[in-house]
């Protein structure tokens, strides 16, 4: 009796485990989930392929000449040199201003301020909100504050619509992002590391400087790279701060300060301007410029992901 009972229940269990109630709905469900991910992949591939196909005539026939050409009304001569240089200068501003200030603010919020203090809570809520403000609104801020109010410094001759204004605007835009990423990296460093340093009599800054920052460095570095990549592709705020979409003289004269106070353009701005021109040649030029932009951004992002995988620690 006990043997028969055991055999019977075993067979029902096996039936239930194997396909007696083959769960079709479950399969459909997991298939749908996977296909949503694969559709994203498909979109990504379609985007890259279509851009490459469009860009191929320009890249294959003009090659280096395209990278080296200045802005031009003529399809056959237009190139992205000014945009690349402009974008690199703008990124320089972000790297010099937003990255260190972002790290400093994050260190204060995470290591110095008390979690419970009201000021700290207000500061963090404020930074989260700033991270959600549309980028074009930062453009308006840059226009009013940097290009108009500080015109004397940012560019007396260029109505303030200069590298300095554009770079500062991007720096302000990226800073909340930088702060949030750095705070996460700092939070991941375990307490015991800090306590070990306090235990031998280190001051708060010494703890941060010699213990917390080195351990958080990979995360902060990755964050900084992603922040710079983001600034590199940002367009809308630069349009408002007067990044040039038409003709920009190749320049050459003037010292560094005069250049920085002068009119500017950037790679994404050029892409936007060209995408508005009619005709296949301009579409091909746009695609070629996009290839240049994507190569920079994807290489940088890949580097960030690899760095993170290489140095990330689990405590």
């Amino acid at each position: 009796m006990t043997v028969a009972g055991a055999a019977a229940s075993r067979s029902t269990v096996e039936l239930a485990l194997r396909g007696k109630r083959r769960d079709v709905a479950s399969r459909v469900f997991s298939g749908l989930l996977l296909s949503s991910l694969l559709l994203s992949l498909f979109i990504l591939v379609a985007l890259l392929v279509s851009v490459l196909v469009d860009a191929w005539p320009v890249l294959s026939t003009r090659g280096v000449d395209f990278l080296n050409g200045n802005l031009s009304r003529f399809e056959s001569r237009a190139g992205v040199r000014q945009g690349l240089i402009g974008s690199l200068i703008l990124i320089g501003f972000v790297a010099v201003i937003a990255v260190p200030l972002g790290i400093a603010a994050a260190v204060y919020l995470q290591e110095y301020a008390r979690d419970t203090s009201r000021i700290n809570r207000v500061l963090i809520a404020n930074i989260r909100n700033l991270a959600g403000v549309p980028s074009i609104v930062y453009g308006i801020l840059g226009l009013v504050v940097f290009a108009q109010a500080l015109r004397g410094i940012t560019g007396p001759q260029s109505n303030g619509l200069s590298y300095i204004s554009g770079g500062l605007t991007l720096a302000v835009l990226v800073m909340p992002f930088m702060i949030i990423i750095t705070m996460e990296a700092l939070r991941a460093v375990p307490r015991s590391i800090r306590e070990a340093a306090y235990g031998v009599g280190a001051t708060r800054w010494e703890v941060v400087r010699s213990h917390v920052l080195p351990y958080a460095a990979p995360g902060i570095f990755t964050g900084a790279i992603l922040a710079l990549a983001r600034a590199f592709g940002e367009t809308a705020p630069l349009l408002v701060v007067g990044s040039v979409t038409g003709y920009l003289s190749a320049g050459g004269g003037g010292n560094v300060l005069e250049t920085l106070q002068g009119p500017y353009t950037a790679l994404p701005t050029i892409i936007f301007a060209w995408s508005r021109e009619a005709g296949d040649e301009w579409a091909q030029l746009t695609a070629a410029a996009i290839v240049v932009l994507l190569v920079v951004i994807l290489v940088v992002n890949l580097a960030a992901i690899l760095l993170r995988n290489r140095y990330e620690r689990k405590w």
Binding site: L37, Y112, N129, R204, G233, A287
Partner: protein
């Protein structure tokens, strides 16, 4: 007893706090860090002041009827906000129709279904998508999505449509929704899942009936943030829907249109005489009003999403 112990409290404190140079350094660094953290408040105040003053001064100059005139033609002094609102609503709605299933589906798959190795292989898809700049998606929407999907499947005739722009914005929003929602589901403790598995529930039931409800606050927050991102997106719409700069009141997604953001960009790239015209009503000034509307709208959405997280969050 404590009263009997007499200590030169001042001396002890001074010797405990170490040498004065070290303390001075400590204090000055503390000060620098406070300044850096405080700058963010300055930025917020700057945005508020810049927008508020200019928006109010524009509102006091313009005839209020112009904000209700039926068409958005800033160069002719017609600033119909309804036309822009409809444009923003259509683009955002389309974007969420695209991004919600893709983003949540990806998040659920990555969090509940994918094995660690598959996760490592699949997650970079979302991360790469997140890194693509919006001008690029805008060009993709104009050059690929509009001709193939919008004109091919829906029979649109215009090279610029709000539908194409909306799909493009949706693609941009997928990574944000996916990553916030995945974090939320990831935070659901394994014990809850194991309890359900223990009484024989299949994975689908565990996902839908246990994990999803437990993570609902984070998922709702992800969707609200997605809406906020879609409303604030500029370049896709500027390239794929609003190249002409003008707009009428329409709810047809197969027509060109203008959103608050794209209209702002279009004003900004206007020629220099629009920028600097001295006397009379300056069309350019409406840009500040649009910025203020955008800022307030996204602020409300962002604060709401934080509230949702805090109100519905259960501590495990």
């Amino acid at each position: 007893m404590a009263a009997t112990v007499v200590t030169p409290a001042g001396d002890v404190r001074r010797s405990l706090s170490g040498n004065p140079r070290r303390r001075r350094k400590e204090r000055s660094i503390h000060g620098l860090l406070v300044v850096a953290a405080g700058l963010s408040i300055l930025v917020s105040i700057g945005i508020l002041l810049a927008l508020a003053f200019r928006a109010v001064s524009f509102l006091s100059d313009v005839q209020l009827g112009a904000l209700w005139s039926g068409t958005w033609r800033p160069r002719q002094g017609q600033f119909d906000l309804i036309a822009l609102f409809l444009g923003s609503a259509i683009v955002t709605g389309t974007a969420m129709l695209v991004a919600t299933p893709l983003g949540l589906g990806s998040a659920i798959y990555l969090s509940e279904y994918a094995r660690p190795r598959a996760r490592r292989a699949l997650k970079p898809i979302i991360e790469t998508l997140a890194g693509i700049p919006s001008v690029v998606i805008g060009f993709f929407a104009l050059a690929v999505i509009n001709p193939t999907i919008v004109q091919g499947l829906f029979g649109a005739t215009s090279p610029f449509t709000m539908l194409a722009a909306g799909i493009g914005v949706g693609i941009l929003t997928v990574p944000l929704i996916a990553s916030v929602a995945e974090d939320a589901m990831h935070a659901v403790p394994g014990a809850l899942r194991e309890a359900a598995y223990g009484i024989g529930a299949p994975r689908r039931t565990v996902t839908i009936r246990v994990v999803f409800p437990a993570a609902i606050s984070g998922i709702v927050a992800a969707l609200i943030l997605g809406i906020s991102r879609a409303v604030g997106e500029t370049m896709v719409v500027a390239i794929a829907a609003g190249a002409v700069g003008n707009a009428t009141r329409t709810i047809d997604p197969l027509e060109p249109g203008q959103t608050f953001t794209a209209a702002t960009a279009s004003l900004a790239i206007g020629s220099d005489q629009v920028r600097t015209s001295g006397s009379g009503l300056n069309a350019f000034e409406v840009l500040y009003l649009l910025g203020a509307i955008l800022f307030l709208f996204t602020l409300v959405l962002n604060v709401t999403s934080e509230r949702v997280v805090r109100r519905v969050r259960r501590d495990y």
